[in-house]
Structure formats: structure tokens, C-alpha cells
Symmetry: D2
Subunit: 407 residues, 4 copies
């Protein structure tokens, strides 16, 4: 039997960290002995636990410690992080450390360095005395990559004491909620976040156009509630088609029925924008007169349109290399405090993968399984609003306007 | 080979009746020879077709004719309907005729009698010189039941020439529609139907309460837009719980979160209403002060609450025998011109089974498969609105009010 | 400020009971001070906690204690249960105690009486020195009903130490699981439960017939793996229609396409069974020769068919009064150790409401929201298998046969 | 009023072409007069119709003719196709013709040229005396692009007289089908298609790995039933992770539960394949020993892995530029007779867009809306099998083996 002492500190009980710790040890067939357990006597007191963990042998013990580490376990005697060189570009050294999406620190040169750009399923490299979280395709030969868990500290989010919309809606994804109240609560969160200077990214799928919620999104951008738009070719093409022809994929979005010859509108739109030299130029030339893309350009809200194999055209601003698009998305998300995901499974999961766990994440979709999959893929902080995005956005905008008027 | 002459008349081509007729013959391995085919030369002219149908033998020919009959085929020489006696209560004679949900006439005593209370999967009996469509459990020993297709004429609905919301939304069930426009169109249909003195039934599931759409439904009832409410115990109990406690199944419907001890509210509500002697008495005594049931009672809108095995209590007005409930529902639906189904699969399909095919039917559900199943079970006239009932009802009410104000 | 001492004992940490306790106190704005906290040092040691809970006043404190009570809190000085008389039939005294679905004991006459027939959202009455859990409609005037939480003890289930299929599939409902492995694991659970003399109920919807899984269910019944069948009219009618005509709602279940004239088969089937005097008689007379109902009757497996407003006929064995059906279902479920729910939301939730929390519950449905709703309604022990019941049942049967052959 | 004579020929009635023609005219507020209508008297006789179509003015008439054209209308006097030069790369001349996915011919130089590589929402260019269907991004300045409908002939598919699995499952997407029978019918179609030398493409999402259906797909490839695999990075990575570690995204696919430390397996897999120099090299080096990718390489089945913004790595074979990937997919699909789409909405719709309408298309997904969306986007020939791909593939393979053994 091999043993090692570990310690935990924080709101161990109501954040369920201690519960998870014991779960992990038991699930992995380990043993434990609690040396000390000090529960915070009052609401705001942290708790502290110290225990010995036993494994059958070194490998078994290490396996258990790896898992405990992910939920915040510390090994009391502080050790330097261990590094190994990447043997080639995009190739990792054995035993590399895989990141979580929680704030992470590495012990390097006797100090705790914060790991920059943390997000899940990446690796940590030390470059020029700083720690970066990077994806495998950015690893270059000779990079010093963190291996093992030694000297790495993860700070999982504590459950906030004050209840917010993010708490009451958390947990099970259900369609049987008072939707209007939820939208009010979200409107208030957005309003307050913006008051405090927070930044909001919107991730939107083309259903925003088809369901006529486009004007509401354009208004939110115009009024300064959106700091970044992440989407694809389809959203932009349909949005511009509405501006030019009043149709989305040839369907009259006022009357809700196909327009004769409307299927040409889609390709006409693409051709016109390409002929103009891109979305921005088409706006300057007066071809595009309103809508989501128009408001982004007019209000200097950055947008990133990532390509997909379903794209027609695509528009000149679309980034057709997905790895380039992904990298630009990651950079643009720096400093974002809240992400609102609207009716797009692919983009929601992709963006979820790029977010630290402390970014508030709202996922709006008619299909409950989009939210479930987002959480299954590790974006545990996401809350799901199972509703029709075509009604959600107009009502959200209206509620924000009501709050503005009151305050 | 056996042969028989049949004829069709009406908008055969654009209603696809002739297409279906040829399909049927080919699918059943029959043969045909067209004797005459006169296409209406202009938009409003009916078409006429006369053909000989061939079967391998009498049984085969009859099988084909049975299917052609359902889509409106007439056998030129008019014959009296054939009748046979029911050998016992709830027992049918061999070869009984099964109804469709289309308007149907039987040739009896040299005249075409309309079949009363037509709905699908029932039988026709002649009583006192009138033809009734009744379910199997209402057949009594000695009833003269229609057998075979002779002397029975079915008039399937023609596709209306003028496009309405019921046409443009028809066909495929899709969530990617401009929801707000669809709701506007439905609001206009409702408004115009009521102007003309039409009658509307609402079929509602308990999600109407959970999602805070209850006030909108109550307002629709108060303003005279609902002539009949069909639902179950749960809708009524949650509605009354909201009136008494402000919670639905213990969840605060304003804050959208559970109230401590709220799970008692459900049973308390049932107990209070039982103690008062029923919903009506509880309203008289001032225990129930608002909501769906309150408005029904105050505005003399009849309601039928059918029991289910999930019910707690149930409330005294709930009809616990399902066959009694079904019979009362059928009676109450007489003269109804439109049915709006809100977030309930069981009740929607049950009511769909009771409707003639000319009753306009709107089915609102977050889950597209509710609408698909409704149509699979024979309610082909249903149009589906795949959206969140919690946002649908308040917006529908608002749109109706806007139309009222304008006109 | 009012205070009261409470204590907890058991696997407090890994069963999250202590976490939930602190949550409850904080959510309700109470305060606490931990007097003693002894964590079990080793895997199998229970823990013990004693704390003082503070509320603003008596009402507030009681509110908190009510919630703590539900998760197993004990008030150290043992008091007798408090009782009040029901003022009328189906009417509850003020402050009545609402049951959970966990094993419950009441302190009466100086002893801890187990509450019989425990299930959720009911009340407890003392009759002849025994404690019964009954629904509101069985309360009769003068019944002594438990009020308040005093002298009531709830024993929530502890998380089992040994991992079983019920544990690994627990939690999130996902469709992206290795379905075949899950079915193997369930087959093993069923096999082992039967070896130990356990009893299994099957709750089945009509999709079992449409999807051709019917033969597998019949085989499971024949081979003794089913001790009780709970269903409705539709399952039985379609099953018998298959036996008589080879069709289900007129669709040939071998070829998967409608049979001409097949829509008559449904009513013919009902009429024939009614004419025979019921399902059992129709089997005796050789009209029904195989299938689910046939195997139930031949193998003396009890079945309960509860009516619904969608029913045609119904068959003589169907219980059309839902409250009578519900009562019979509750009685039949006594002693059942596992329930398998197959593609029916209504019946699954209804049966879930009738089960104690220690009955293993598997819910198989294509639609993940059926399982979510089942759990939202309080059947937290349910595990969901999101798959096609038409493939699930044949494979489950095959896997059980493989296990039988091996052992 | 402007008028023009048009004619139709073929199985006009049972293919509903004539119905659609009249619909189009009426929907667009046109008028018509039928000059001649000859219905084929017997099953195999084609029909012929000639009519005059009236519009308010030239523009209105042309609009109607454009739509009639799409369903096969011919303007009797044959005219040459009209061409206009593309003013710039990726920019279309005014009035360009948008393709359908039906076989199409253009009248050029007095002859009917078949349009090569037909698929929907593209344009037609004439290069070196041949007609090509190309996407907008392949148009180069000076290309002679077809404008208007003159001299273009579309041949929509006729409904086959013989019923196949593709017919009986067509129409409504329903989950309540006899799944096992449908799989048998599909197995037979596949077997017979391969017998005749047909080619089959499989489009697969990563759920194939998670749900343990991977071995069945690998076996289908090994046995020669797959001629092309279209997928993405995730499918390949998970498949290889299973080969190396026995896990898929860290979940043990035999036990169906996460393996401790398993989240590293995903990145390890990518790193190992990159280090080896790609999938093919990793197979040569013995790193990958079985599975989907292994069988593709060993059996010379081409595969195309298209990138997406969710990708980790990606593997060296993944094409990260989506427009390049799309072009390669289109080329690889030439000569394919059947496409089987497995649990992937993005890839299914993308591939659907690239297919001519005569390619048999089967879409297997747990979520009925995947199929609905595929059809809404124009892939009308798709049939949907709403089932669990984790059970579908093993059973499909078993059924094919049974057919092989019998024949």
C-alpha cells in the first residue's frame, strides 16, 4: 500500500467538493483516513480537510491523486511543476497534463503562475516565464509542456451564496418552466452585467433568421448589449437576404410563406456581397440596409463567421479554415463574461469548449438535448432555456427595455 | 376478372383525389381503364372522371372499391345502404362499415341521410330514420348497423382556393418558422371566426400552468374567445393552486423557483376544493379568485375535466370514468368550428379522434412529434405550431388585442 | 431568534445528505452552528453530525426543520407523532404531513411504526395501531391523520457502495451511450433479481406492438421474467389484433406497411373480444393464439389495463374508472422490486408516483424528456435508457437467454 | 394578359406532377386553359397534357413559367439556352439559372446536353461544349453561365411502380414503425444494390463510436458494403482511441463507464497519430489495429474527413478548409447510388446538398427532426429511420449476413 497526504480548503460541503473527493477514492477502490476535518461553523467560514489517501501501489495512488487534483486537492508540500519537451510540432510528451476549464496555477520558479487562456482539453506550456493553455495544434517542437499533476493547482468554482438566475435554473434541463419569468431574470442579469462594464458574446445559428428573431438581435447589438458575435455563413447570408429581398432562404419572413423564385435570393445575395467586396463594403455601398450584420459593422461589434461544409459561397468574411476560425474565436472570447447561445448545437459546443468555467453561459434551444450535450461535453456551467428562439429574443429585448425605462 | 364502373367529381386534380385513386388501384394490384376525364378548364370548374376498375375476383374488386370509396368514389347506380343487426351490446355484425372523419351520407329510404356526429373509427347505425355515427361501446343489441360501402358516400374536404394560415402552415411540421408571424395569422383566424359567430374549443395540458401562460388563457376565456375547455385534473389543480398559493406544484410561478413546503400546496388545494364542495362552490365562497377555472365559471364557459391514472384527488368535477368523459367530450364538441390544442399529447389525440375533418385544428407543442402523432392517428387537418406554449399564449392574446383595437 | 438541535447519522458525506442540509438552511435564510461532526474514518463507517439550527421565529424555524426532516434529520428528544381528525371524507386536517417516497416511520405508542404502502404525495393515517400511507381520496371522516413532522422519521436511500447498472447510468440522461452494453447490464440485473426471487413489473405502451417488440415481451412473460403487467387498452387491442390479423392498427407488422382495409381490424378485434366475453374467454375459445396478453393469461401473470380517453371499445378487462385502476395498480405493485417502463409517458409517471424510492426503475424511451419528466415528478431513482423500444426488447431477451445458457 | 403554351409528359397523375402544375398556377394568381389532356389508359401508359398559361404581364407570366419549369414543364418550340458572362470570379450575371437536384439538360448547339454533376442550388456553365453544374465559388470571370429557363429541361423523378423500402417508408417520419422489419428491408436493398455493382457511401457521426456500433460499421467496410466514408475528425479520433485504449472520449465502451484518467486518451490518440505521420502510417506501424479507419485503409475504401470548429488536433488527414472538403466530397460522391447517413445532422444536410435526387438516401437518427430538416433543405428523396444507431448498425450487419447465407 502506498499513501499520500492531501488537503482541501474552501466551502467543501455545500460545494460538494468533499463528497466528490470521497466518491473518487471509493470508485477507484482506494482507501482513506481523515486526519482532520474542520467544518466552517458559520455560513461564510471555509472548511478545511486533511486526509491520507491509500492506493495499492504507486500507479494506483497516482491515478487517484490525478482525479482528486482536478477537483482542487492540494498536496501539502509544494513542489515545482514538472516539464518535458515536445518531441515534434503537435506531438506531446508522455504523461502530459490535460487542462480542465477551471482557473489553474502552476508552481514555477517558486511562484504560482496563473495559466493564461485556460479552457478544457488542452495542455500547458511555459514560455518566457509565463504559463499558457494551448491546443495541441499550437504545440511546437521543443515547447516545455507540463507533465503530471505535481505543482498544478486547480480552483473549481464555488457555488455562489447569493441565488441568481444561473443558480435557480441550473441542474435539470426542463421545458416546463415559467419561460417569461426566466427571460425577465436573464434580462436583468444582462442589464446588470453591462452596467458593471461586463462583456457579452452571442453565438447564433441561422434559426434566428428563419424565426424572425433577427430584428431583436439586431436591436440588442445596436443598443450595445452585444460585444462579440460568433456565427457562420448561413446566419449572415439569410440576414442579408432579409435586408435585400425580405426573404430567408426564399421564404417571406413577414408572411411566413415561400416567395415564387425565392430560392434564387439566397445565391443572389451571396453573389451581390462577393461582387461588392464583402459585407462591410456592401453596407458602405448601401446594398445592406439593416439587420444583424449591419448593426455589427455600424456599431463596431466584432464578428467571426466560421465556415462549415454546408456553406454556399461563402461570403468573403467567412473563415473557411476551421482551425484558423477556432483560434480567432478563442482570442475574441478573452475578457468575455457571458455567452448567450442561440439555437445552434455545433457552434454552442465549439464555443463551450473554448470557455473558462467562470463565464456565465446561457444556451437557448427548442431541443433539450442541445443543452444536455453541451454539459456532457464539459460546459457544466451552462444553463439551458428550452424555448423557441423566435419568441425568446423579441421578449428578451422588450424586457431589457422595460428595465432600462425603470432604472 | 371482375369489373365495376366508378365516378369521381370535384377538384380532382388539385385536391389530388384522382392521383390517390390511381395510387390505390395500382398499390392493390388492380387495373383501370379511364372512360372519360373532363378537367375543369378554368380555376373554378370541377372535374369529372369515370373509369372501370378491375379486380382478380369479387373479393379483390371489393377491397379496391372499399379504399376508393373512402376518398369519395361513387358507384353510379345508386343503391340503398345495407344494414345488419348487432348480435349483442357492443358487438358488431360482420362486414360493418368503419367511418372516416369526413362528412358522410347514407342512401336510406331513397334519400341521402347525413350521418350525424361523424368522427373516425366508429360505426353508423340507423335509428328512427336518422343515421348516427357512434362508438362501439354505444352499440346495443338489435341496432341496425351499416355494413359494406354500398349506399355510403364520403365527401373528403377540398383544398380551399384561398390561402389561409391553415394552408401555409400545413404539410411538414417544422420548428424553423417565423413563429411571431404564425401567431399573428392564428390571432386573425380566431378573431374572424368569432366575428362570424364561430365556436372555439381549447384543449390544454398542465404545462399551461407551469409555464405561466395561465393568465393569458384566463384572459382569452374572459374576453369570450373560448367556448369550451377540455382538460384534466392537473390543469385545474395547478391553476387553483396558483390562485390560492401563487405556486404551481409548489414552484413559485413568479420567481420560477420552488417555495419551501410548496409540495404541500398541491394536496392542500385539492383538499380545500373538496371541502368546499367543488370548483364552482370554491369560487362562490371566494377561495378561488382568478385563473382559468375561475373565468370558465364566471363566464359560463363549459369545461370537461377527464380523469387519468396520474391524478391526485381528484377534484369533484373530474369525471373519473374515461368512457363517460369521452362521451361528454364528444357531445360538447358539437358545433365547434376550431380546436386549439395546447401542450398535451394525450388530450390532443383523444380530442382529434372525436372531430370531423372540417374542424380547424391547431396543435401547439414544443415537441414536433406530438403533431406528427396526431396526424398519424388520422387528424390530418391539424396544423402544428412547434413552439413554447409559455410564450405562445401571452403573445396570441396580445395579437388578438391589437387586432381588436385596430378594427 | 429561535433555535433547535438536530442530528444526522449515516453516510452523510458521500450520500450528500450533509451538503443538502446546509443548502436547505442557507437557501431558507437560516443559520447554523455545528456542535459535533464525526466523519467515518474508513469506507464503511457512518458519520454523525449534530448542529443547532436558527430561524427568525418559530414559523421560520419550523419551515427549515420541515425541509431538513425530509432528508432524514432527527430531533434528538423523541416525541410522539401528532394526529388530527379528518373533518370530512377526502378532506385533510390543517398542517397534514405529506409523504416522500422514502421508507418512513412514525413514533406512536412509544414505538417506531413503519408506514405501510409508502409512496409520494400522500398522507399518513393511523388505523388500529398501524400506520398507512394513503391517497387523499381514501381518507374518510374521522381518520387520524399525521400532522407536522414531529415523531416522523424518513430514511432516504444511501448510495450503494457497489456499483451496479443503476449507478453507472444514473444522473444525466444521454442518448450517446453504448446501448448494447447497457442492455447487457440490465439483462444481468434482471437475471440476478429473478434468481434471488425478486419480482418485476413491466409498464408498457402501445409502441411495443407497433415496433414489433411484442414477441420479445411475450417471450419474457412466458419465461417467467415478468410478474405484473401494467398497461392500457391500446396495448392489449393491438397485441390481439396482431394475433388475429397480423396487423397493428391495420399495419402489417411483418412488412411494415398498411394492409388494405386494415383500419377495420382494430374495431373487429375489439368486437370479437367483447363478443367472446373478454380476453381470457377469447383465449380459451382459441380466438387469441399468442402474444403478450396470451402469455399473461397462460402463465397466470396478473395484468391491469387502465382506461384512457383515447380508448376504443374498450376491452372488457379494462378498468374505465381511473381512480379504481390506480388503486388496483398500487395494490399490485406491493412486493415488486423492479419496474421496467417501456415507451409510455403517462403510465410511467403514474406508476412512478406509486413506487417507494427503493424500487429499481428503468425507463426506456426514444424521447429523453420522458425520463426527465419522470425524475422531475419525483421518481429520482429512475434510470433512463434513451433508445428504440423496438430494438431494445428483442436484444434484452436475447441477452437474458445468453446469460441463462452460460450459467 | 400574356399567354404561353406549355406541355407535360409522363406519369403525370400518379407522380402528382399535374397536380403540382395547377397548384403553382393558382398559387401565383395565374390562369390556365387545358387544351389537351390524354390520361394513359393503362398502368404503364404515360399521360400527356398541353395547356395555355396566362399571366398579368410578361414578368408575371415568366415567374409562373419558372416554377412550372422546375417540375418538368416544356415549352413546345425548342429554343437554345441563354448564356451570360460572369462579370468577376464568384459573381453571377443577372437572371442566372439556379439548379434543382433533378437530372437536367440544356439545349446548346441544337442538341440536349446533360448537365454534369447536377446538385441543388448551383449554377450551370458551358465550358468546351459541355454543361457543368458548379457552386458559386467555382465560377470564374468570363464563365458562360445559363440565365433564364429557356432551353433548360428538368426531369423530375417519377414514382417507381414497384414498391421498395424507399417507398413504403417514405412520407411521414415516424418513430412508431416496426424497426426490425425496416432494417431487414434496408439490408435487402443494400445486398441487392451491391450484387448489381452499385456503390454505397456512408456518412457517419461520432455517435457511431460512443454507442458501440463501431464494430458493425467496421465489419460492413471489411465485407465490401461501403465504397466511401464521409465524416469528420471526431469519428476518426474516437474510433482510433477505441483501438488504442478501448475508450471513446475516455469512456470504456465495453463497460459503458468513464475510465479514470480517460479524458487524456483523446489527446494522447491525436498526438500519437500526428507523431506517426497520419492515420495510414499509424496503421502501418501497428498503432491502430482495428476499427472503422483501419478497415477503410486496409480495404482501400476512400474516406474524407472534413474539419469543424469543434475539432481537437485535428488528425493529419482532416481537411481543415471546408470549401476544399466540400469539393472533394462532391467529387467522391460521383457514381454513388446510395447514401446511408448515421446520426449526424451537419454532415447529413451537407451531403444531401451534394446529391442528385435519384441517389437513394437513408437517414438514421434518434431525433426525427434531423430527417425533417434534411427534407426541408431539399433532399426530398431521403427516407428516415428514427432509431438508435447503436442498435441499428449491429442489426443491419446481422441481417445482411443472414441474407448472404441464404442466397
Amino acid at each position: 500500500m502506498k499513501a499520500r497526504e492531501v488537503e482541501f480548503e474552501g466551502h467543501l460541503i455545500d460545494s460538494m467538493i468533499f463528497t466528490k473527493a470521497l466518491d473518487i477514492i471509493l470508485d477507484l477502490d482506494g482507501e482513506f483516513e481523515i486526519l482532520e476535518f474542520r467544518v466552517g461553523k458559520k455560513k461564510d467560514d471555509p472548511s478545511y480537510a486533511r486526509m491520507i489517501v491509500f492506493g495499492r501501489d504507486d500507479a494506483h495512488l497516482e491515478q487517484i491523486l490525478k482525479e482528486l487534483h482536478k477537483i482542487g486537492a492540494r498536496i501539502p508540500d509544494i513542489e515545482e511543476v514538472e516539464l518535458a519537451e515536445a518531441p515534434a510540432d503537435k506531438v506531446l510528451p508522455d504523461g502530459f497534463y490535460v487542462t480542465t476549464n477551471h482557473p489553474t496555477f502552476v508552481r514555477y520558479g517558486g511562484e504560482w503562475l496563473p495559466v493564461e487562456d485556460i479552457s478544457m482539453d488542452r495542455v500547458i506550456v511555459i514560455r518566457d516565464g509565463r504559463a499558457y493553455c494551448i491546443p495541441i495544434d499550437e504545440v511546437v517542437r521543443g515547447d516545455r509542456v507540463v507533465v503530471g499533476e505535481k505543482g498544478v493547482r486547480v480552483v473549481p468554482p464555488e457555488r455562489p451564496r447569493k441565488s441568481t438566475v444561473f443558480e435557480f435554473m441550473g441542474g435539470r434541463v426542463s421545458s416546463e418552466r415559467p419561460t417569461e419569468r426566466m427571460i425577465e431574470a436573464i434580462a436583468r442579469e444582462i442589464y446588470e452585467l453591462k452596467l458593471k462594464g461586463g462583456k457579452i458574446a452571442v453565438v447564433a445559428g441561422p434559426a434566428v433568421d428563419h424565426t424572425s428573431a433577427r430584428n431583436a438581435l439586431a436591436a440588442l447589438i445596436r443598443d450595445g448589449y452585444v460585444d462579440l458575435l460568433l456565427s457562420g455563413n448561413a446566419l449572415a447570408v439569410h440576414d442579408i437576404e432579409i435586408s435585400i429581398f425580405g426573404t430567408s432562404l426564399g421564404m417571406d419572413i413577414c408572411k411566413g410563406r415561400p416567395v415564387p423564385g425565392g430560392n434564387r435570393h439566397h445565391l443572389y445575395t451571396i453573389s451581390k456581397v462577393i461582387a461588392a467586396g464583402g459585407i462591410k463594403k456592401a453596407i458602405e455601398k448601401g446594398i445592406i440596409k439593416d439587420g444583424i450584420m449591419y448593426e455589427c459593422v455600424k456599431n463596431n461589434v466584432p464578428f467571426i463567421l466560421a465556415g462549415s461544409i454546408r456553406d454556399d459561397g461563402p461570403l468573403p468574411e467567412v473563415i473557411t479554415d476551421v482551425m484558423v476560425a477556432k483560434k480567432k474565436m478563442k482570442e475574441a472570447l478573452r475578457g468575455i463574461n457571458m455567452v448567450i447561445m442561440l439555437a445552434t448545437m455545433l457552434h454552442s459546443i465549439a464555443v463551450g469548449n473554448l470557455l473558462p468555467s467562470y463565464v456565465k453561459t446561457i444556451c437557448v434551444d427548442m431541443n433539450p438535448s442541445t443543452v444536455t450535450k453541451l454539459m456532457d461535453r464539459g460546459t457544466h456551467q451552462a444553463i439551458g432555456v428550452v424555448t423557441d428562439v423566435g419568441l425568446f429574443l423579441p421578449l428578451l429585448y422588450q424586457k431589457i427595455k422595460e428595465i432600462e425605462a425603470k432604472e
